[in-house]
């Protein structure tokens, strides 16, 4: 029965992503966008054992500085939405702090664009 084809057949992940997210819903984009910067809260005396290994690793990842949500997802290789759900949960529980990106009103801000432009020029001549 075991043709060579059979070896390619693989089982899907043992633990399904909806279990990892504990069935929670996606957070608002305003709450956690792709470029929201995230870091671990400074006062992390003890992490309860109840955190899943995935949550523990997210906290580890965020413990040494700021990363954007997109970067965290890229480093973890989990679906971005799954990472966002977990990050939102950890933020609500007080383990993480987030810095939302520039407010919409400031997007057209000349100053911001000028800063980007001069930054680019300074960097690349």
């Amino acid at each position: 029965m075991n043709g060579p084809e059979d070896f390619e057949l693989e089982a899907a992940e043992l633990v399904r992503p909806y279990v990892i997210t504990k069935g929670r819903g996606l957070p608002d984009d305003d709450q956690l966008s792709l470029i929201t910067l995230v870091t671990a809260a400074p006062e992390q005396v003890q992490r309860p054992l109840r955190l899943s290994p995935e949550e523990q690793r997210l906290l580890d990842l965020c413990s040494a500085g700021y990363l954007s949500v997109a970067e965290i997802a890229g480093h973890t290789r989990l679906p971005l939405g799954v990472v966002r759900i977990m990050l939102a949960g950890l933020t609500e529980a007080g383990y993480l702090i987030t810095r939302p990106p520039v407010a919409r009103a400031r997007l057209a801000d000349k100053e911001l664009l000028e800063e980007v432009l001069s930054g680019l020029r300074a960097k690349f001549g």
Partner: protein, 391 residues
């Protein structure tokens, strides 16, 4: 004396007597023969009855076997499809992880897992297929896998963990048995209560303790449960009642075949049932290593591509130079305030219909580009000939 001898009456009497004797003797003979016949008939009848019972039992057994064979192969197909769909869902979840569609994909995934589990349970009762091969996995992950296979998984909380793994051949059986226990625990307790799982090391191995806050079981239910879990459980699929109660029978079969113990005979501290799965040392491994350290998905880690055939370019209007020609589009109010006010007036007056058309074109070309992916999924089609089989 002679007068007597000559008396015809006497002769008549003698003759009569002889006749009577003859008749009696004959009747006796006949009766004897009849009795023998009856006895013979009785014997024959009981013989017949015996054979009949035997053939009925054989027929029943045959029918049961036939039913099992049919069910087993039907379930194999369903299980294969569920497994295939699970892989597709995994892929979609990664692909559209950044989209709100993820939410729906996760829900479909959950439904699919329940569906797969039902088919798997029936398969177990038919000595069928358990599923695709699994690697060693941590007890915690096996418990979470079980959790994901029941409808009310949100009500299940894992309160403690241990640093042990479960050996590959026991991963599916333990996950399935535990899923059936969790299904019972969540089904027979109030929707606002939590089902607690504690994983503990004990001298005999690892115990997974499931406590629900339901109403518990009465003596009769407990006896029935014990019977289903023991080896003299109902052996036939037909004996599972209507609606069929698979759970405990499945657990009974699995625990016997794979050598772990399941008991449901104690009460939980919350008044419901306490179920305990005891995994002996033979089924345990050390904490499984994570797969090869997953590097972040950077471009340099990507294997070299294989170039392929040309890509069709759709025919469309062209410029005077012979270049394909595009028509400018007007912004749609989908992302309010996402950019400095677009100067719509300066743009060409494309109709809304045209805009929608462009959207569709975009999505269509996307779909067309993905056509090859269908081939990938078909590589999972032989799902009915791998993995671990019972017996």
């Amino acid at each position: 004396m002679t007068e007597y001898i000559e008396n015809p009456a006497l002769w008549a009497l003698v003759v009569l007597l002889l006749i009577v004797i003859a008749v009696v003797v004959r009747q006796r003979k006949a009766a004897m023969a009849l009795r023998q016949e009856i006895a013979g008939l009785r014997e024959y009848y009981s013989d017949l009855e015996h054979h009949y019972m035997q053939s009925v039992a054989a027929a029943q057994e045959q029918a049961e076997e036939a039913t099992k064979t049919v069910l087993k192969s039907a379930m194999r197909t369903l299980q294969g499809l569920a497994a295939e769909q699970q892989l597709i869902l995994s892929r979609l979840q990664t692909k559209h992880g950044e989209s709100v569609i993820l939410q729906d994909l996760l829900e479909i995934d959950h439904t699919n897992s329940q569906f797969g589990r039902r088919a798997q349970s029936i398969a177990v009762l038919c000595d069928g297929w358990l599923g695709r091969h699994r690697d060693n996995a941590s007890v915690y992950d096996v418990v979470r896998s079980a959790q994901g296979r029941v409808r009310h998984f949100r009500r299940v909380e894992i309160l403690s963990q241990v640093d042990f793994g479960i050996s590959s051949r026991a991963v599916e059986p333990v996950a399935l048995a535990l899923a059936e226990l969790l299904d019972n625990a969540t089904s027979y307790s109030s929707p606002d209560t939590v089902v607690e799982i504690n994983i503990r090391t004990v001298p005999k191995g690892v115990a997974i303790v499931v406590d629900d806050a339901g109403v518990g079981m009465n003596d009769e239910e407990r006896a029935r449960a014990e019977r289903l879990l023991s080896s003299d459980r109902v052996k036939s699929v037909a004996g599972l009642g209507n609606p069929p109660q698979f759970g405990l029978a499945v657990i009974g079969v699995l625990s016997e075949r794979f050598g772990f113990e399941v008991s449901v005979d104690s009460s939980s501290p919350y008044g419901g049932v306490r179920a305990v799965v005891l995994l002996p040392h033979e089924l345990l491994t050390s904490m499984p290593e994570k797969k090869a350290p997953a590097p972040p998905m950077t471009r340099s880690s990507v294997p070299p591509p294989q170039p392929n055939g040309p890509e069709p370019v759709p025919a469309s209007p062209t410029t005077t130079d012979g270049l394909p020609l595009r028509r400018r589009k007007r912004p749609m109010a989908i992302v309010p305030g996402s950019a400095p006010t677009p100067i719509a007036s300066a743009r060409s007056g494309a109709e809304t219909a045209a805009i929608m058309g462009a959207f569709q074109r975009g999505t269509r070309s996307g779909r067309a580009a993905r056509g090859d992916d269908a081939d990938q999924t078909s590589s999972t089609r032989g799902s009915s000939s791998e993995g671990h089989e019972f017996s």
